[in-house]
Symmetry: D2
Subunit: 138 residues, 4 copies
Protein backbone atom coordinates (compact mmCIF):
# COMPACT_ATOMS: atom_id res chain seq x y z
CA UNK A 1 0.00 0.00 0.00
CA UNK A 2 1.27 3.47 -0.88
CA UNK A 3 1.76 6.13 1.81
CA UNK A 4 -1.39 8.05 0.87
CA UNK A 5 -3.63 5.00 1.05
CA UNK A 6 -1.99 3.94 4.30
CA UNK A 7 -2.67 7.37 5.83
CA UNK A 8 -6.30 7.24 4.75
CA UNK A 9 -6.67 3.81 6.34
CA UNK A 10 -5.36 5.15 9.68
CA UNK A 11 -7.19 8.46 10.00
CA UNK A 12 -9.83 8.75 12.72
CA UNK A 13 -11.88 10.76 10.21
CA UNK A 14 -14.22 8.85 7.93
CA UNK A 15 -13.58 9.55 4.22
CA UNK A 16 -16.71 10.81 2.48
CA UNK A 17 -15.98 8.77 -0.65
CA UNK A 18 -14.52 5.41 -1.62
CA UNK A 19 -11.05 5.08 -0.02
CA UNK A 20 -9.35 3.44 -2.96
CA UNK A 21 -10.65 5.94 -5.49
CA UNK A 22 -9.68 8.74 -3.18
CA UNK A 23 -6.11 7.50 -2.69
CA UNK A 24 -5.76 6.93 -6.41
CA UNK A 25 -7.03 10.40 -7.22
CA UNK A 26 -4.59 12.03 -4.80
CA UNK A 27 -1.71 10.09 -6.33
CA UNK A 28 -2.76 10.96 -9.87
CA UNK A 29 -3.14 14.65 -8.96
CA UNK A 30 0.44 14.90 -7.71
CA UNK A 31 1.67 12.74 -10.59
CA UNK A 32 0.02 15.23 -12.95
CA UNK A 33 1.31 18.23 -10.99
CA UNK A 34 4.89 17.08 -11.35
CA UNK A 35 4.48 16.09 -15.00
CA UNK A 36 3.09 19.55 -15.76
CA UNK A 37 5.82 21.38 -13.83
CA UNK A 38 8.45 19.32 -15.63
CA UNK A 39 6.76 19.77 -19.03
CA UNK A 40 6.66 23.57 -18.71
CA UNK A 41 10.35 23.43 -17.84
CA UNK A 42 11.20 21.05 -20.69
CA UNK A 43 9.35 23.33 -23.13
CA UNK A 44 11.55 26.22 -21.93
CA UNK A 45 14.57 24.35 -23.24
CA UNK A 46 13.19 23.59 -26.70
CA UNK A 47 14.34 25.35 -29.90
CA UNK A 48 10.78 25.97 -31.07
CA UNK A 49 9.86 27.65 -27.81
CA UNK A 50 7.48 30.17 -29.43
CA UNK A 51 5.10 27.41 -30.50
CA UNK A 52 4.91 26.16 -26.93
CA UNK A 53 3.72 29.33 -25.19
CA UNK A 54 0.19 28.09 -24.69
CA UNK A 55 1.41 24.65 -23.65
CA UNK A 56 3.56 26.28 -20.93
CA UNK A 57 0.68 28.43 -19.68
CA UNK A 58 -1.69 25.44 -19.53
CA UNK A 59 0.94 23.34 -17.75
CA UNK A 60 1.61 25.98 -15.10
CA UNK A 61 -2.10 26.29 -14.36
CA UNK A 62 -2.63 22.56 -14.31
CA UNK A 63 0.29 21.96 -11.94
CA UNK A 64 -1.10 24.52 -9.50
CA UNK A 65 -4.69 23.29 -9.68
CA UNK A 66 -3.68 19.63 -9.31
CA UNK A 67 -1.64 20.41 -6.23
CA UNK A 68 -4.44 22.16 -4.39
CA UNK A 69 -6.87 19.42 -5.36
CA UNK A 70 -4.54 16.78 -3.89
CA UNK A 71 -4.24 18.86 -0.72
CA UNK A 72 -8.00 19.10 -0.24
CA UNK A 73 -8.54 15.42 -1.00
CA UNK A 74 -5.91 14.42 1.53
CA UNK A 75 -8.03 15.97 4.29
CA UNK A 76 -10.89 13.84 5.62
CA UNK A 77 -12.08 15.92 8.59
CA UNK A 78 -15.58 17.13 7.63
CA UNK A 79 -14.96 18.15 4.02
CA UNK A 80 -17.36 20.65 2.49
CA UNK A 81 -18.90 18.77 -0.47
CA UNK A 82 -19.66 21.99 -2.37
CA UNK A 83 -16.02 23.04 -2.19
CA UNK A 84 -14.74 19.59 -3.11
CA UNK A 85 -17.06 19.33 -6.10
CA UNK A 86 -16.04 22.73 -7.46
CA UNK A 87 -12.32 22.07 -6.93
CA UNK A 88 -12.51 18.65 -8.59
CA UNK A 89 -14.37 20.23 -11.50
CA UNK A 90 -11.66 22.91 -11.83
CA UNK A 91 -9.02 20.18 -11.77
CA UNK A 92 -10.74 18.10 -14.44
CA UNK A 93 -11.03 21.16 -16.67
CA UNK A 94 -7.40 22.19 -16.13
CA UNK A 95 -6.38 18.64 -17.10
CA UNK A 96 -8.51 18.76 -20.25
CA UNK A 97 -6.98 22.09 -21.32
CA UNK A 98 -3.42 20.94 -20.64
CA UNK A 99 -3.92 17.52 -22.25
CA UNK A 100 -5.22 19.20 -25.42
CA UNK A 101 -1.98 21.19 -25.71
CA UNK A 102 0.18 18.21 -24.83
CA UNK A 103 -1.40 15.87 -27.35
CA UNK A 104 -1.05 18.55 -30.03
CA UNK A 105 2.73 18.57 -29.55
CA UNK A 106 3.40 14.94 -28.70
CA UNK A 107 4.69 13.98 -32.14
CA UNK A 108 7.46 16.55 -31.77
CA UNK A 109 8.02 16.41 -28.03
CA UNK A 110 7.78 13.19 -26.06
CA UNK A 111 7.56 15.14 -22.79
CA UNK A 112 4.34 16.79 -23.97
CA UNK A 113 2.81 13.39 -24.68
CA UNK A 114 3.80 11.95 -21.29
CA UNK A 115 2.37 15.02 -19.60
CA UNK A 116 -0.88 14.80 -21.60
CA UNK A 117 -1.25 11.16 -20.59
CA UNK A 118 -0.82 12.12 -16.92
CA UNK A 119 -3.52 14.80 -17.41
CA UNK A 120 -5.88 12.27 -18.97
CA UNK A 121 -5.45 9.85 -16.07
CA UNK A 122 -5.91 12.63 -13.53
CA UNK A 123 -9.03 13.95 -15.23
CA UNK A 124 -10.65 10.51 -15.32
CA UNK A 125 -9.92 9.97 -11.65
CA UNK A 126 -11.26 13.42 -10.68
CA UNK A 127 -14.47 12.69 -12.59
CA UNK A 128 -14.83 9.42 -10.68
CA UNK A 129 -14.42 11.06 -7.26
CA UNK A 130 -16.55 13.99 -8.40
CA UNK A 131 -19.49 11.63 -8.95
CA UNK A 132 -19.05 10.28 -5.44
CA UNK A 133 -18.87 13.73 -3.85
CA UNK A 134 -21.91 14.83 -5.84
CA UNK A 135 -23.81 12.01 -4.13
CA UNK A 136 -22.56 13.05 -0.66
CA UNK A 137 -23.72 16.54 -1.45
CA UNK A 138 -27.25 15.48 -2.34
CA UNK B 1 -0.52 51.54 -7.85
CA UNK B 2 0.21 48.21 -6.19
CA UNK B 3 2.71 45.75 -7.69
CA UNK B 4 0.02 43.42 -9.03
CA UNK B 5 -1.84 46.19 -10.86
CA UNK B 6 1.44 47.58 -12.17
CA UNK B 7 2.39 44.18 -13.56
CA UNK B 8 -0.98 43.81 -15.25
CA UNK B 9 -0.58 47.25 -16.84
CA UNK B 10 2.82 46.24 -18.31
CA UNK B 11 2.12 42.76 -19.63
CA UNK B 12 2.10 42.26 -23.41
CA UNK B 13 -0.85 39.91 -22.87
CA UNK B 14 -4.33 41.39 -22.93
CA UNK B 15 -6.31 40.60 -19.72
CA UNK B 16 -9.60 38.89 -20.52
CA UNK B 17 -11.46 40.84 -17.84
CA UNK B 18 -11.47 44.31 -16.29
CA UNK B 19 -7.92 45.12 -15.11
CA UNK B 20 -8.88 46.83 -11.89
CA UNK B 21 -11.25 44.06 -10.80
CA UNK B 22 -8.63 41.51 -11.70
CA UNK B 23 -5.88 43.21 -9.68
CA UNK B 24 -8.23 43.64 -6.74
CA UNK B 25 -9.27 40.00 -6.86
CA UNK B 26 -5.66 38.79 -6.89
CA UNK B 27 -4.86 41.00 -3.90
CA UNK B 28 -7.93 39.83 -1.99
CA UNK B 29 -7.13 36.17 -2.73
CA UNK B 30 -3.68 36.42 -1.18
CA UNK B 31 -5.00 38.57 1.66
CA UNK B 32 -7.50 35.79 2.37
CA UNK B 33 -4.88 33.07 1.97
CA UNK B 34 -2.67 34.63 4.61
CA UNK B 35 -5.57 35.40 6.96
CA UNK B 36 -6.67 31.75 6.72
CA UNK B 37 -3.18 30.35 7.26
CA UNK B 38 -2.76 32.64 10.27
CA UNK B 39 -6.23 31.81 11.63
CA UNK B 40 -5.63 28.05 11.51
CA UNK B 41 -2.39 28.69 13.39
CA UNK B 42 -4.00 31.03 15.94
CA UNK B 43 -6.71 28.41 16.55
CA UNK B 44 -3.97 25.87 17.31
CA UNK B 45 -2.91 28.02 20.24
CA UNK B 46 -6.36 28.45 21.79
CA UNK B 47 -7.48 26.68 24.98
CA UNK B 48 -10.77 25.58 23.44
CA UNK B 49 -9.02 23.96 20.52
CA UNK B 50 -11.52 21.10 20.19
CA UNK B 51 -14.32 23.49 19.22
CA UNK B 52 -12.16 24.87 16.44
CA UNK B 53 -11.46 21.68 14.50
CA UNK B 54 -13.80 22.50 11.67
CA UNK B 55 -12.63 26.10 11.58
CA UNK B 56 -9.04 24.88 11.14
CA UNK B 57 -10.00 22.46 8.35
CA UNK B 58 -11.98 25.14 6.51
CA UNK B 59 -9.11 27.64 6.88
CA UNK B 60 -6.50 25.23 5.53
CA UNK B 61 -8.64 24.50 2.48
CA UNK B 62 -9.45 28.15 1.90
CA UNK B 63 -5.79 29.20 2.13
CA UNK B 64 -4.82 26.60 -0.47
CA UNK B 65 -7.69 27.39 -2.84
CA UNK B 66 -7.15 31.16 -2.60
CA UNK B 67 -3.48 30.78 -3.44
CA UNK B 68 -4.05 28.78 -6.60
CA UNK B 69 -6.80 31.17 -7.67
CA UNK B 70 -4.43 34.13 -7.29
CA UNK B 71 -1.80 32.26 -9.29
CA UNK B 72 -4.16 31.59 -12.19
CA UNK B 73 -5.52 35.14 -12.17
CA UNK B 74 -2.00 36.58 -12.29
CA UNK B 75 -1.46 34.90 -15.68
CA UNK B 76 -2.88 36.75 -18.70
CA UNK B 77 -1.46 34.69 -21.58
CA UNK B 78 -4.49 33.00 -23.21
CA UNK B 79 -6.37 31.90 -20.09
CA UNK B 80 -8.84 29.05 -20.49
CA UNK B 81 -12.20 30.59 -19.47
CA UNK B 82 -13.67 27.21 -18.46
CA UNK B 83 -10.79 26.61 -16.05
CA UNK B 84 -10.91 30.15 -14.67
CA UNK B 85 -14.65 29.98 -14.06
CA UNK B 86 -14.43 26.67 -12.23
CA UNK B 87 -11.47 27.80 -10.12
CA UNK B 88 -13.15 31.08 -9.19
CA UNK B 89 -16.29 29.16 -8.27
CA UNK B 90 -14.24 26.81 -6.04
CA UNK B 91 -12.61 29.83 -4.43
CA UNK B 92 -15.93 31.57 -3.75
CA UNK B 93 -17.28 28.38 -2.16
CA UNK B 94 -14.17 27.84 -0.03
CA UNK B 95 -14.53 31.42 1.19
CA UNK B 96 -18.21 30.89 2.05
CA UNK B 97 -17.42 27.73 4.03
CA UNK B 98 -14.54 29.33 5.90
CA UNK B 99 -16.40 32.59 6.58
CA UNK B 100 -19.28 30.62 8.09
CA UNK B 101 -16.91 29.02 10.62
CA UNK B 102 -15.11 32.28 11.29
CA UNK B 103 -18.25 34.29 11.94
CA UNK B 104 -19.52 31.54 14.25
CA UNK B 105 -16.45 32.01 16.49
CA UNK B 106 -15.82 35.73 16.13
CA UNK B 107 -17.36 36.67 19.49
CA UNK B 108 -14.79 34.50 21.25
CA UNK B 109 -11.87 34.86 18.89
CA UNK B 110 -11.07 38.12 17.12
CA UNK B 111 -8.78 36.33 14.67
CA UNK B 112 -11.71 34.24 13.43
CA UNK B 113 -13.70 37.39 12.74
CA UNK B 114 -10.85 39.10 10.88
CA UNK B 115 -10.37 35.97 8.81
CA UNK B 116 -14.09 35.69 8.05
CA UNK B 117 -14.12 39.30 6.87
CA UNK B 118 -11.20 38.59 4.53
CA UNK B 119 -13.15 35.57 3.20
CA UNK B 120 -16.23 37.72 2.60
CA UNK B 121 -14.23 40.31 0.64
CA UNK B 122 -12.49 37.62 -1.39
CA UNK B 123 -15.73 35.84 -2.20
CA UNK B 124 -17.40 39.07 -3.41
CA UNK B 125 -14.42 39.86 -5.62
CA UNK B 126 -14.32 36.32 -7.07
CA UNK B 127 -18.02 36.57 -7.90
CA UNK B 128 -17.38 39.85 -9.72
CA UNK B 129 -14.55 38.45 -11.84
CA UNK B 130 -16.52 35.23 -12.33
CA UNK B 131 -19.28 37.19 -14.02
CA UNK B 132 -16.75 38.76 -16.37
CA UNK B 133 -15.11 35.43 -17.24
CA UNK B 134 -18.52 33.90 -17.82
CA UNK B 135 -19.08 36.54 -20.50
CA UNK B 136 -15.68 35.82 -22.11
CA UNK B 137 -16.65 32.19 -22.19
CA UNK B 138 -19.92 32.80 -23.99
CA UNK C 1 -3.34 48.04 9.74
CA UNK C 2 -3.23 45.39 7.01
CA UNK C 3 -4.92 42.00 7.49
CA UNK C 4 -1.65 40.16 8.13
CA UNK C 5 -0.51 42.56 10.83
CA UNK C 6 -3.97 42.51 12.39
CA UNK C 7 -3.93 38.70 12.53
CA UNK C 8 -0.50 38.70 14.16
CA UNK C 9 -1.73 41.17 16.77
CA UNK C 10 -4.64 38.86 17.66
CA UNK C 11 -2.98 35.45 17.77
CA UNK C 12 -2.67 33.76 21.17
CA UNK C 13 0.77 32.59 20.02
CA UNK C 14 3.73 34.86 20.70
CA UNK C 15 5.69 35.73 17.54
CA UNK C 16 9.34 34.80 17.86
CA UNK C 17 10.49 37.95 16.10
CA UNK C 18 9.50 41.62 15.78
CA UNK C 19 5.82 41.80 14.78
CA UNK C 20 6.13 44.67 12.35
CA UNK C 21 9.11 43.18 10.52
CA UNK C 22 7.29 39.87 10.40
CA UNK C 23 4.11 41.33 8.93
CA UNK C 24 6.12 43.33 6.42
CA UNK C 25 8.12 40.29 5.37
CA UNK C 26 4.94 38.23 4.82
CA UNK C 27 3.45 41.01 2.71
CA UNK C 28 6.63 41.41 0.67
CA UNK C 29 6.87 37.64 0.10
CA UNK C 30 3.39 37.45 -1.43
CA UNK C 31 3.97 40.69 -3.33
CA UNK C 32 7.09 39.11 -4.80
CA UNK C 33 5.30 35.80 -5.45
CA UNK C 34 2.64 37.52 -7.53
CA UNK C 35 5.11 39.76 -9.34
CA UNK C 36 7.17 36.68 -10.29
CA UNK C 37 4.14 34.67 -11.44
CA UNK C 38 2.98 37.64 -13.52
CA UNK C 39 6.50 38.27 -14.91
CA UNK C 40 6.91 34.66 -16.08
CA UNK C 41 3.54 35.00 -17.79
CA UNK C 42 4.34 38.39 -19.33
CA UNK C 43 7.64 36.96 -20.66
CA UNK C 44 5.64 34.18 -22.37
CA UNK C 45 3.89 36.83 -24.44
CA UNK C 46 7.04 38.66 -25.58
CA UNK C 47 8.44 38.43 -29.13
CA UNK C 48 11.97 37.80 -27.89
CA UNK C 49 10.85 34.88 -25.78
CA UNK C 50 14.03 32.86 -26.31
CA UNK C 51 16.14 35.45 -24.47
CA UNK C 52 13.83 35.20 -21.48
CA UNK C 53 14.10 31.47 -20.77
CA UNK C 54 16.26 31.89 -17.72
CA UNK C 55 14.17 34.81 -16.47
CA UNK C 56 11.07 32.58 -16.63
CA UNK C 57 12.77 29.74 -14.79
CA UNK C 58 14.04 32.05 -12.04
CA UNK C 59 10.61 33.67 -11.70
CA UNK C 60 8.80 30.34 -11.36
CA UNK C 61 11.19 29.24 -8.63
CA UNK C 62 11.02 32.56 -6.83
CA UNK C 63 7.20 32.61 -6.87
CA UNK C 64 7.08 29.14 -5.31
CA UNK C 65 9.74 29.81 -2.70
CA UNK C 66 8.22 33.16 -1.69
CA UNK C 67 4.83 31.55 -1.21
CA UNK C 68 6.04 28.84 1.12
CA UNK C 69 8.11 31.38 3.07
CA UNK C 70 5.02 33.56 3.60
CA UNK C 71 3.08 30.49 4.74
CA UNK C 72 5.67 29.54 7.34
CA UNK C 73 6.03 33.11 8.57
CA UNK C 74 2.27 33.43 9.00
CA UNK C 75 2.36 30.65 11.61
CA UNK C 76 3.37 31.67 15.12
CA UNK C 77 2.70 28.48 17.09
CA UNK C 78 6.13 27.22 18.19
CA UNK C 79 8.09 27.78 14.99
CA UNK C 80 11.25 25.73 14.52
CA UNK C 81 14.04 28.35 14.23
CA UNK C 82 16.28 26.02 12.20
CA UNK C 83 13.56 25.52 9.62
CA UNK C 84 12.67 29.22 9.49
CA UNK C 85 16.29 30.27 9.06
CA UNK C 86 16.87 27.81 6.20
CA UNK C 87 13.62 28.76 4.45
CA UNK C 88 14.33 32.48 4.77
CA UNK C 89 17.81 31.88 3.39
CA UNK C 90 16.35 29.97 0.42
CA UNK C 91 13.91 32.80 -0.16
CA UNK C 92 16.61 35.49 -0.06
CA UNK C 93 18.70 33.50 -2.55
CA UNK C 94 15.74 32.89 -4.90
CA UNK C 95 15.08 36.64 -4.83
CA UNK C 96 18.71 37.43 -5.65
CA UNK C 97 18.71 35.02 -8.60
CA UNK C 98 15.41 36.32 -9.96
CA UNK C 99 16.31 39.99 -9.43
CA UNK C 100 19.54 39.49 -11.36
CA UNK C 101 17.57 38.26 -14.38
CA UNK C 102 14.92 40.94 -14.02
CA UNK C 103 17.39 43.82 -13.80
CA UNK C 104 19.24 42.44 -16.86
CA UNK C 105 16.05 42.80 -18.93
CA UNK C 106 14.47 45.89 -17.41
CA UNK C 107 15.56 48.26 -20.17
CA UNK C 108 13.56 46.20 -22.67
CA UNK C 109 10.76 44.96 -20.46
CA UNK C 110 9.21 47.11 -17.75
CA UNK C 111 7.60 44.05 -16.14
CA UNK C 112 11.03 42.52 -15.54
CA UNK C 113 12.14 45.67 -13.74
CA UNK C 114 9.03 45.82 -11.55
CA UNK C 115 9.50 42.19 -10.67
CA UNK C 116 13.19 42.67 -9.88
CA UNK C 117 12.31 45.54 -7.57
CA UNK C 118 9.79 43.33 -5.74
CA UNK C 119 12.53 40.69 -5.38
CA UNK C 120 14.96 43.25 -3.97
CA UNK C 121 12.44 44.40 -1.36
CA UNK C 122 11.57 40.83 -0.43
CA UNK C 123 15.20 39.82 -0.10
CA UNK C 124 16.01 42.77 2.18
CA UNK C 125 13.04 41.94 4.39
CA UNK C 126 13.94 38.24 4.57
CA UNK C 127 17.49 39.16 5.61
CA UNK C 128 16.07 41.37 8.38
CA UNK C 129 13.83 38.62 9.79
CA UNK C 130 16.59 36.09 9.24
CA UNK C 131 18.82 38.03 11.62
CA UNK C 132 16.08 37.97 14.24
CA UNK C 133 15.42 34.23 13.86
CA UNK C 134 19.15 33.57 14.04
CA UNK C 135 19.11 35.20 17.47
CA UNK C 136 16.11 33.10 18.60
CA UNK C 137 18.01 30.06 17.47
CA UNK C 138 21.08 30.87 19.50
CA UNK D 1 9.52 3.95 -14.92
CA UNK D 2 7.43 6.44 -12.99
CA UNK D 3 6.13 9.63 -14.64
CA UNK D 4 8.70 11.89 -12.96
CA UNK D 5 11.66 9.78 -14.04
CA UNK D 6 10.22 9.50 -17.55
CA UNK D 7 9.87 13.28 -17.79
CA UNK D 8 13.46 13.78 -16.64
CA UNK D 9 14.65 11.30 -19.28
CA UNK D 10 12.87 13.27 -22.03
CA UNK D 11 13.73 16.86 -21.14
CA UNK D 12 16.07 18.75 -23.48
CA UNK D 13 17.62 20.27 -20.35
CA UNK D 14 20.50 18.43 -18.73
CA UNK D 15 19.87 17.63 -15.04
CA UNK D 16 22.62 19.02 -12.83
CA UNK D 17 22.60 15.95 -10.59
CA UNK D 18 22.15 12.18 -10.88
CA UNK D 19 18.82 11.50 -12.65
CA UNK D 20 17.75 8.57 -10.56
CA UNK D 21 18.48 10.33 -7.24
CA UNK D 22 16.67 13.38 -8.52
CA UNK D 23 13.54 11.47 -9.57
CA UNK D 24 13.53 9.60 -6.27
CA UNK D 25 13.88 12.82 -4.29
CA UNK D 26 10.97 14.45 -6.14
CA UNK D 27 8.79 11.42 -5.49
CA UNK D 28 9.74 11.30 -1.81
CA UNK D 29 9.07 15.03 -1.41
CA UNK D 30 5.50 14.73 -2.66
CA UNK D 31 5.02 11.49 -0.74
CA UNK D 32 6.06 13.38 2.40
CA UNK D 33 3.93 16.40 1.49
CA UNK D 34 0.80 14.28 1.27
CA UNK D 35 1.62 12.28 4.39
CA UNK D 36 2.08 15.52 6.33
CA UNK D 37 -1.12 17.10 5.00
CA UNK D 38 -3.02 13.92 5.90
CA UNK D 39 -1.36 13.66 9.32
CA UNK D 40 -2.29 17.21 10.30
CA UNK D 41 -5.85 16.39 9.26
CA UNK D 42 -5.90 13.07 11.08
CA UNK D 43 -4.61 14.81 14.24
CA UNK D 44 -7.55 17.23 13.97
CA UNK D 45 -9.90 14.30 14.44
CA UNK D 46 -8.19 12.83 17.50
CA UNK D 47 -9.62 13.05 21.02
CA UNK D 48 -6.31 14.17 22.51
CA UNK D 49 -6.02 17.01 20.05
CA UNK D 50 -4.34 19.38 22.51
CA UNK D 51 -1.26 17.16 22.73
CA UNK D 52 -0.91 17.27 18.97
CA UNK D 53 -0.68 21.04 18.45
CA UNK D 54 3.00 21.05 17.72
CA UNK D 55 2.70 17.95 15.53
CA UNK D 56 0.08 19.76 13.44
CA UNK D 57 2.21 22.88 13.09
CA UNK D 58 5.28 20.87 12.08
CA UNK D 59 3.23 18.86 9.57
CA UNK D 60 1.76 21.95 7.92
CA UNK D 61 5.21 23.47 7.50
CA UNK D 62 6.72 20.25 6.25
CA UNK D 63 3.95 19.73 3.66
CA UNK D 64 4.49 23.24 2.29
CA UNK D 65 8.28 23.02 2.22
CA UNK D 66 8.27 19.56 0.60
CA UNK D 67 5.96 20.77 -2.14
CA UNK D 68 8.10 23.71 -3.14
CA UNK D 69 11.22 21.54 -3.03
CA UNK D 70 9.62 19.03 -5.41
CA UNK D 71 8.62 21.89 -7.71
CA UNK D 72 12.14 23.27 -7.90
CA UNK D 73 13.68 19.84 -8.38
CA UNK D 74 11.30 19.08 -11.24
CA UNK D 75 12.81 21.98 -13.22
CA UNK D 76 16.07 21.25 -15.05
CA UNK D 77 16.53 24.44 -17.09
CA UNK D 78 19.61 26.15 -15.62
CA UNK D 79 18.88 25.71 -11.92
CA UNK D 80 20.60 28.08 -9.53
CA UNK D 81 22.73 25.81 -7.29
CA UNK D 82 22.70 28.30 -4.39
CA UNK D 83 18.90 28.33 -4.38
CA UNK D 84 18.62 24.56 -4.72
CA UNK D 85 21.07 23.94 -1.89
CA UNK D 86 19.24 26.30 0.48
CA UNK D 87 15.82 24.87 -0.41
CA UNK D 88 17.00 21.28 0.02
CA UNK D 89 18.52 22.25 3.37
CA UNK D 90 15.20 23.82 4.45
CA UNK D 91 13.39 20.68 3.36
CA UNK D 92 15.72 18.36 5.24
CA UNK D 93 15.28 20.46 8.39
CA UNK D 94 11.48 20.60 8.06
CA UNK D 95 11.51 16.80 7.74
CA UNK D 96 13.67 16.42 10.84
CA UNK D 97 11.36 18.66 12.88
CA UNK D 98 8.22 16.90 11.69
CA UNK D 99 9.67 13.41 12.08
CA UNK D 100 10.62 14.19 15.68
CA UNK D 101 6.99 15.04 16.48
CA UNK D 102 5.66 12.07 14.55
CA UNK D 103 7.93 9.52 16.20
CA UNK D 104 7.02 10.96 19.60
CA UNK D 105 3.35 10.13 18.98
CA UNK D 106 3.63 6.96 16.92
CA UNK D 107 2.82 4.60 19.78
CA UNK D 108 -0.58 6.27 20.17
CA UNK D 109 -1.24 7.28 16.60
CA UNK D 110 -0.25 5.09 13.66
CA UNK D 111 -0.70 8.00 11.25
CA UNK D 112 2.01 9.97 13.07
CA UNK D 113 4.41 7.05 12.67
CA UNK D 114 3.68 6.63 8.96
CA UNK D 115 4.18 10.35 8.46
CA UNK D 116 7.44 10.35 10.42
CA UNK D 117 8.73 7.50 8.27
CA UNK D 118 7.88 9.47 5.12
CA UNK D 119 9.78 12.44 6.61
CA UNK D 120 12.81 10.26 7.33
CA UNK D 121 12.91 8.94 3.78
CA UNK D 122 12.49 12.43 2.34
CA UNK D 123 15.22 13.89 4.53
CA UNK D 124 17.70 11.17 3.54
CA UNK D 125 16.97 11.72 -0.13
CA UNK D 126 17.30 15.52 0.18
CA UNK D 127 20.67 15.08 1.88
CA UNK D 128 21.82 12.87 -1.01
CA UNK D 129 20.81 15.38 -3.69
CA UNK D 130 22.13 18.21 -1.54
CA UNK D 131 25.60 16.67 -1.67
CA UNK D 132 25.39 16.52 -5.45
CA UNK D 133 24.21 20.12 -5.80
CA UNK D 134 26.94 21.25 -3.42
CA UNK D 135 29.45 19.79 -5.89
CA UNK D 136 27.79 21.56 -8.85
CA UNK D 137 28.02 24.77 -6.89
CA UNK D 138 31.72 24.44 -6.25
Amino acid sequence: MQTVELMISKTPNRPATDQRHLAECIDLCVDCELACAACADACLGEQELAMLRKCIRASLDCADVCNVTARLLSRQFEPEPQVMVAQLEACARACVACAAEGHRHQESYAHCGICADACDRCEASCREVLKEFALVRA
